[in-house]
Symmetry: C2
């Protein structure tokens, strides 16, 4: 974990900065802003505490850099345009659900960071939420709305419906990776199918 400096590993600014950001991300995701000390970050990055402040003026600015970077990442697979274009409800919903489950399983620190930032009231937390959670729901809501207009699904409030679907998934990943409680007998792909079936049947005419 700790990249111990094997004798003076002088790095160019960008690389070192990257290294610090990566280490800090792990720390902040694990213990939150208040729960993380600059000493911990330095240890995790394998550098001296002072160096952190050469790259970032304050601890808070390091935190901001991390959130900003995660905001910038693209939510790949969670807005399946093709499936949406051809009106394949099942594919749209499955894609959203399974890519969300997969993404969080691969990197739970992301979700932890999201929740920490919301709870601790970081200034960027709203943007964080908008960029990474809201957008997917809006995409789904628009899609559902269109399908309702086409008469393929029964009419209900599209935002509420999209929220309901996202909630099924969110609840699962939260329990699994945030509360870390045993969560379901079903395998992830069976769960996804269950959600999609339930939801589509619920919206059928």
């Amino acid at each position: 974990m700790t990249a111990v400096a094997a004798r003076r590993p002088r790095l160019p600014t960008a690389e070192r900065r990257e290294q610090i950001v990566v280490a800090a991300m792990r720390c902040f995701a694990e213990r939150g802003f208040e729960g993380t000390t600059t000493r911990m970050v330095a240890r995790a990055a394998g550098v001296s505490e002072g160096l952190i402040f050469r790259h970032f003026p304050t601890k808070r600015s390091l935190y901001r850099a991390i959130i900003a970077r995660r905001i910038a990442e693209a939510p790949a697979g969670m807005m399946p345009a093709e499936a949406a274009a051809r009106g394949d409800d099942r594919a749209v919903l499955s894609s959203i659900a399974s890519s969300l489950v997969a993404r969080v399983s691969r990197d739970p620190s992301f979700m932890r960071l999201l929740f920490f930032s919301a709870l601790e009231g970081a200034p960027l937390s709203r943007m964080f939420y908008q960029a990474r959670v809201r957008r997917v729901r809006s995409f789904l809501a628009s899609y559902l709305e269109r399908r309702m207009d086409e008469g393929a699904l029964r009419k209900v409030d599209s935002t509420a419906a999209a929220g309901a679907f996202m909630g099924m998934i969110a609840n699962y990943v939260q329990q699994k990776h945030l509360f870390r409680v045993p969560v379901a007998r079903l395998a992830p792909d069976e769960l996804v199918r269950t959600w999609v079936d339930l939801f589509l049947k619920g919206l059928s005419r």
Copy 2:
């Protein structure tokens, strides 16, 4: 907020303890364990910092006392036994949903505390979760299972189904009271109806 001491208000132990606990609950819910200082708690309770340590040996023990107390509270209305007994699906689901929404609206600090404790890895956080979240879901899962056995609902994994329903609600209250983003066009009771309709139709045979 700060109950300023109007000249030496000597209180019996139990009362003073209560007062400290209540103030500390607000603080910890707002900023988490790491983000709260004993000074803040003292201010909020209107007592000196020293007094806190006469009633609780450590900051952590105060935190534990709070979590323990919240574990002990009963989740009123969220396990509607009568409606369940007479097999009124709509009443069971509506009752769970609307009492959860109402409870969190009335006291959002509860949910914040739950999430903080999970993220910060408080020792009691698992019990907290079990007592207050898991139990309701288990209740619902058993109910659904029974109704499936009776042939009133189609057969799906009851735990997954219960989780899906709870997720719809949880997602909503989280967005509203934790992320504090604008969340739905619908009024709470309309939302509840939408969830229940969607879910029951999804489980119909």
